[in-house]
């Protein structure tokens, strides 16, 4: 295996995601993995590492640059095709949806490249999910702060307990078919407008 092991170049300005992919590839037994964060070094890096597969983040604006470089490259003498197999529409779509695009040296067998791309796609998806969860947690925290402020306003103006203030907000939300945090936000806005 080692003699024919594929050389893989990862180009991703997001260092965390790049390292997640790199780890995955190494765990899968690939040792010839190079990570590049700055696409400006791509010419030299391609010359040095002579990659069989290049995985690049779709959000990287320099995809155009990279493709142009391939099209006239004196360094990479072999023709380069994007994706595993042009006819593999499902694979292409899965990649693009995940935000990953891959350039593969023409002539490589699909079976050899597919697991690499599958891994990259699943890692991209996992990273996106992680980021979404982080955003959700942040939103939740923000929401809780708003509800606390709204409760405080009610407790102060109506002289009620925290539990009663919460019950009042919740019943208002249920009656109006709106989210608790929206009612809290409305109350805070109103209080700011009417405020002392």
């Amino acid at each position: 295996m080692s003699a024919s092991e594929l050389s893989i170049l990862i180009i991703d300005e997001n260092r965390i995601r790049a390292s997640i992919i790199e780890d995955g590839l190494r765990e899968a037994g690939h040792t010839r993995v190079v990570v590049l964060h700055d696409v400006n070094q791509v010419a030299r890096t391609i010359q040095d590492s002579d990659p069989d597969v290049i995985v690049i983040d779709l959000e990287n604006p320099q995809r155009d640059t990279l493709e142009h470089f391939f099209s006239l490259s004196k360094v990479v003498q072999r023709p380069i095709a994007m994706f595993v197999d042009r006819s593999d529409g499902a694979m292409i779509e899965k990649s693009v949806e995940a935000g990953v695009s891959a350039y593969v040296v023409d002539g490589l067998r699909k079976e050899r490249v597919k697991p690499i791309l599958d891994m990259a796609v699943s890692r991209f998806n996992a990273f996106a999910k992680l980021r979404q969860e982080l955003a959700d947690v942040r939103n939740e925290l923000e929401d809780r702060k708003l509800v606390d402020r709204a409760k405080g306003i009610l407790m102060k103006t109506r002289g009620i307990s925290e539990a009663d203030a919460y019950a009042l907000l919740r019943s208002a939300a249920m009656n109006q078919n709106r989210k608790l945090v929206e009612i809290a936000q409305s109350l805070i806005t109103a209080a700011d407008l009417l405020g002392p």
Binding site: N40, L58, E59, N60, P61, Q62, R63, D64, T65, E67, H68, F69, S71, A81, M82, F83, R86, G89, I92, E93, V96, E97, S101
Partner: protein, 408 residues
């Protein structure tokens, strides 16, 4: 009327204006379309996401539907355009260092392509290193018009200089960092280079080739086939947006909309220059370019098959494509004047009778045959006086090939 949601990709360039205004000014809504605009980071993404169907329609470089249909792209997909997003809008912008050298070699400083190109040729000949120019994509009007200008000025674009590809918003920074000496791009990225990097606008697309196309609305041929009503709606919405955008009374509002954070995210006064044609060409010099960007006049939105064939001739010229009658036919068929006419005929607006025209033969504004009546076309000359006759395609390509051979 029920509304259909269409997702449209675009890049932050002034020539996305008609697509943006179709949404923002309600022209799309009037056609029952809810256009969901997605700003992309590279032309490669626009091309790929349109090809796999993430985008129903997209702002595209005019040669892009040809390239996709001819199989020059990573995901070869028959693509068409039924509509052009306007004429002009590009400049060639150079660093202050290069500009000073060009001035010393006799550049007139009036944006006129001919003498400016000759001054550049003298700088290139004397330069100890190869000058490097940036364009936005390989199959782009920018690449072909920069190459055309260089070649006709005596600079071979592959032997004498280096041409690299960078996305539009990165070009001013690359120039500022000294990575490139000049670039060809649409507005506002020339004005941004002038305002932030001390660059100079050397010449303009409107001087290299007057009234020439640049961006189109591209879509998969199969999608257009399946949704003729939606295609017609898109054409009408953008046609109306073009008429609205062309009215000087609307320039302030158009500039304000385009300057917004979701679109160009640049100062309004800078964005407005593309509309007025009044450019700050560098070091505070202000020059007005007639027909700098033409969103409506001169059948600006009509997809002339002769334009498609000119792009085809340049793809062959620069070695991207082997010429064949089949390839030429595919190229021409990717521009669809029939769809344009079908959509606009009910409005009773003037429509060109022919699908193709003799290009670059018009020195002064004049009439062209149309239904229900003729209409006025603006001058469309190449700066070197060459004429492109789509019926003499092979002769044109042979002539260029011979001119491009090394001297001696």
């Amino acid at each position: 009327m029920s509304t259909t949601r269409l997702t449209a990709g675009f890049l932050p360039l002034f020539d996305s204006a008609l697509l943006v205004l179709a949404r923002e000014r309600g022209f799309a809504e009037a056609e029952g379309l809810d256009i969901n605009l997605v700003r992309e980071t590279s032309w490669a993404n626009i091309r790929d996401r349109a090809a796999i169907g993430h985008f129903e329609i997209a702002q595209m470089l005019a040669p892009m539907p040809l390239a996709a249909s001819l199989g020059l792209t990573p995901i070869p997909t028959p693509m068409i355009t039924p509509l052009v997003l306007g004429l002009g809008n590009n400049c060639v912008t150079v660093s202050d260092t290069l500009w000073q050298a060009m001035l010393a070699e006799g550049a007139p400083g009036n944006l006129v392509a001919g003498p400016t190109g000759l001054a550049l040729a003298r700088v290139v000949a004397a330069s100890p290193r190869k000058l490097r120019f940036g364009v936005v994509h390989q199959t782009s009007s920018h690449n072909y018009e920069l190459r055309y200008w260089l070649a006709a000025s005596g600079v071979h674009p592959d032997r004498d200089v280096e041409i690299v590809v960078l996305p539009p918003p990165l070009l001013p920074d690359a120039l500022g960092a000294g990575v490139i000496d000049g670039y060809c791009v649409g507005e506002p990225w020339n004005s941004v280079g002038v305002a932030t990097k001390g660059a100079h606008i050397a010449t303009v697309k409107a001087s290299i080739w007057q009234s020439s196309p640049d961006k189109v609305i591209g879509m998969r041929a199969s999608w257009a086939e399946q949704h003729p009503e939606l295609v017609s709606g898109v054409i009408r919405a953008i046609y109306h947006a073009g008429a609205w955008c062309a009215d000087p009374a609307n320039h302030d509002e158009a500039a304000r909309i385009m300057a917004g954070p979701a679109y160009l995210d640049q100062p309004v006064s800078l964005v407005r220059r593309a509309l007025s044609g009044m450019l700050d060409t560098g070091a505070g010099v202000s020059q007005t370019v007639p027909g700098f960007f033409i969103p409506h006049a001169s059948a600006a939105n009509f997809p002339w098959q002769s334009h498609a064939l000119w792009y085809y001739s340049q793809m062959v010229r620069w070695g991207e494509l082997k010429p064949s009658p089949q390839a030429a036919a595919i190229a021409a068929a990717s521009f669809r004047p029939d769809l344009y006419r079908a959509a606009l005929k009910p409005l009773g607006v003037n429509l060109p009778l022919a699908d193709s025209k003799l290009e670059a033969n018009r020195q002064h504004a004049g009439p062209i045959a149309g239904v229900p009546s003729p209409f006025t076309m603006l001058p469309d000359r190449f700066f070197d006086g060459e004429v492109f006759d789509p019926d003499q395609l092979d002769a044109y390509m042979t002539r260029q090939q011979q001119a491009d051979l090394p001297a001696g």
